[in-house]
């Protein structure tokens, strides 16, 4: 998931913290530099669009393509 609007590591940790506790999310790693989140999730619980939507609801501009 591509993410716009993160300005520092506290933004990164905030996103990782909120998304990682969502049901179905197995792993998340956010790169501030690359403006990118790598998310591993259970496809029977979540879709990639649902993950994008959750990041977007946090107030960051999230998209699936660059």
């Amino acid at each position: 998931v591509f993410i716009e609007g993160m300005t520092c590591m506290s933004c990164v940790r905030n996103i990782e913290g909120v998304i990682s506790v969502k049901p179905g999310v197995k792993f998340i790693k956010v790169s501030l530099e690359k403006k990118l989140a790598y998310v591993k999730f259970d496809p029977s619980v979540l879709t990639v669009e649902a993950v994008r939507q959750a990041v977007d609801d946090m107030g960051f501009e999230a998209s699936l393509d660059q």
């Binding site: 609007g5 993160m6 300005t7 520092c8 506290s10 933004c11 905030n14 996103i15 913290g17 909120v18 609801d57 946090m58 107030g59 960051f60 501009e61």
Partner: protein, 67 residues
């Protein structure tokens, strides 16, 4: 018009607050990092706005109505 107190540490946080409130139809949004203040005009109730702001992952409390 509503006032909230929100744990904001950087511009990313205040921009996030502005963005979620804008998406929810809020207008006249003012955020202040130093005083942790968020002001918004909206038809939504304070509870609805609180739920929307909570999704940012930040500690947030409702201060009260303001003019």
């Amino acid at each position: 018009r509503h006032e909230f107190s929100m744990e904001m540490t950087c511009e990313g946080c205040s921009n996030a607050a502005t963005r979620v409130l804008t998406k929810a139809g809020g207008t006249d949004i003012v955020t202040d990092l130093a005083s942790k203040k968020v002001l918004v005009t909206s038809d939504k109730s304070s509870d609805e706005l609180l739920e929307i702001l909570k999704k940012t992952g930040k500690a947030i409390t409702y201060v009260g109505p303001v003019n």
